[in-house]
């Protein structure tokens, strides 16, 4: 999925869901396509946070008398939750800013913000509105990034301590 360009996904969702299952006529197609487009990025991130989990933390649990299932729920899962949450927010930011897939799927009434900017600037010559939308996008992304640093800051603190030893 990582290898497909956004345009390819946009076009294929449009054609694939035109007849038969006519999802392309409903706004839900936008959410589905953006989800599919950015899912692999999220999985990569979640997997990376699993790889960062020190295996000896799980081994220490087993040696202490816990089985595999107990170890997963008491040790691995709580330590992964934050990493996954960060991934979810990043996932949302990326989907939110996506234009190459969205541009094939939007219809009047369910344009995404990037599409709105594009239309106002390119079609309507409404630079003011486009600028305002861009600003709005920056603010929303910034808030999401703040949330991420809040969560992942917590992860870093828990794992390595408040700066140095």
């Amino acid at each position: 999925m990582l290898a497909f360009p956004g345009i390819a996904i946009g076009v294929s969702y449009l054609l694939g869901f035109w007849e038969g299952i006519p999802l392309a006529k409903h706004w839900i197609i936008m959410a589905l396509a953006l989800f599919a487009r950015r899912l692999p990025y999220f999985l990569r991130m979640a997997h990376a946070s699993y790889l960062q989990l020190d295996i000896s933390l799980e081994e220490a649990s087993e040696v202490s008398g816990a089985g595999k299932i107990r170890t997963f729920f008491s040790i691995s899962l709580p330590l992964l939750v934050k990493g996954v949450l960060v991934g979810v927010v990043m996932f949302f930011i990326m989907a939110f800013q996506e234009i190459s897939t969205a541009i094939f799927l939007y219809r009047g009434g369910w344009e995404t913000l990037p599409i709105g900017i594009y239309l106002n600037w390119h079609r309507g010559m409404e630079f003011g509105i486009a600028a305002a939308m861009a600003f709005l996008m920056i603010v929303i992304t910034f808030i999401l990034l703040l949330i991420i640093s809040r969560i992942s800051g917590g992860v870093l603190k828990a794992a390595w301590g408040p700066g140095g030893t």
Binding site: S56, A60, E62, V63, S64, G65, A66, L79, T165
Partner: protein
């Protein structure tokens, strides 16, 4: 009978043999150290005892119960405590929760858990810190948490995998003695893995020196330092001067052999205790730097006496190393720190035959 018996243990990772059919026995209450360079199989052996690795062949018997031959026993069922190199304390749990984790799994009454936790916290010197998160503790304190966690359930066997190598030198020395006295006081049978020979010598009842998957020698610190089994052990434990040569004469009545080396035609050495030396055999005449006697004037003795020039002088505080050039060969000598000689000066070296070992 031995408390832990390792029989014919064999483990490989893909094509690399990590542990090559080794045999080891640890008596009850004993602290055995597996010592060797990285990649020698010491950690793999320990992890096999813990059940974190599954060996291809062999068996491990702990307190009479086979861990492999009658079905694989999961690490959680082996009655062991383990301390890891990188502490492996759970960062999302407070110190107290870290320590009582295993006890809770045993479904002990609350009061018992509290008491045990309190005792072990005092034992490792962490009382008052039970409400901290590991991240709020120093490396040394985190390793104490790991130690407390390993000890709290009164394990039959304590396994320590390089527990001190992530700590700074001063703390490492301090904790060595602490771990030793703690383990001895509790009388737990322990297996300790390290690559630090000084640590091994201080902490162990016996040391098993490992090299590329094999146990090369087992013995007390004293035995291993004084009577190394081969060149590898002698080189790994402490410092040793090696002079390669061949045996030219045997003096059986005096327990001496004569070796021809690059240093001299005639060099007398002690007859090796472990292996019978034969004429013409290629050997290493070896001597520890601290066993070389140094003179500024030629002494009475004629044998094993060499004249050399100080090539380098290294000051190590409590003693000096002289690197002395003897006929173009370098020999390292340890002398008291107040020796005034400088580089370029001549010295006489007496290599006492009783201190010269033959190694293979």
């Amino acid at each position: 009978m031995a408390f832990i018996e390792i029989k014919n243990l064999f483990k490989r990772f893909k094509k690399v043999v990590a542990v090559n059919h080794i045999k080891l026995e640890v008596s009850e209450g004993e602290l055995l150290t597996l010592l060797g360079p990285s990649g020698c199989g010491k950690t793999t052996t320990l992890r096999c005892i813990a059940g974190l690795e599954r060996p291809e062949e062999g068996d491990i018997v702990i307190d009479g119960k086979p861990m492999l031959s009658k079905g694989f026993v999961h690490p959680s069922k082996r009655g062991i405590g383990m301390v890891f190199q990188n502490y492996a304390v759970w960062p999302h749990m407070k110190v107290y929760k870290n320590i009582v984790y295993g006890l809770k799994l045993q479904k002990l009454p609350k009061q018992t858990i509290k008491e045990k936790a309190k005792n072990v916290l005092e034992l490792v010197g962490l009382d008052g810190l039970e409400d901290r998160y590991p991240a709020q503790l120093s490396g040394g304190q985190q390793q104490r948490v790991a130690l407390a966690r390993a000890l709290v359930g009164n394990p039959k066997v304590l396994l320590l995998d390089e527990p001190l190598s992530n700590l700074d030198a001063k703390l490492r020395e301090e904790l060595r003695f602490e771990i030793k006295s703690l383990v001895k006081r509790m009388g737990i049978t322990s297996v300790y893995v390290t690559h630090d020979q000084a640590e091994a010598m201080v902490i162990s009842d016996r040391i098993a020196v490992m090299e590329s998957g094999n146990v090369v020698q087992i013995g007390t610190s004293h035995e291993i330092y004084e009577k190394p089994a081969n060149k590898f052990v002698a080189d790994f434990i402490g410092t040793m001067n090696f002079m390669s040569g061949e045996i030219v004469q045997l003096f059986k009545d005096q327990d001496l052999v004569q070796v021809r080396t690059k240093f001299s035609e005639k060099m007398l050495c002690k007859t090796p205790g472990i292996k019978v030396a034969s004429l013409g055999e290629k050997v290493y005449a070896s001597i520890r730097p601290e066993d070389v006697e140094v003179f500024t004037q030629p002494p009475q003795t004629k044998e094993n006496l060499f004249k050399g020039i100080i090539a380098h002088k290294a000051y190590l505080g409590n003693f000096l190393y002289f690197f002395i050039n003897v006929n173009g060969n370098m020999i390292r000598v340890q002398v008291p720190h107040h020796m005034p000689q400088e580089e370029g000066q001549e010295l006489y070296l007496f290599l006492n035959p009783q201190k010269c070992m033959i190694l293979f």
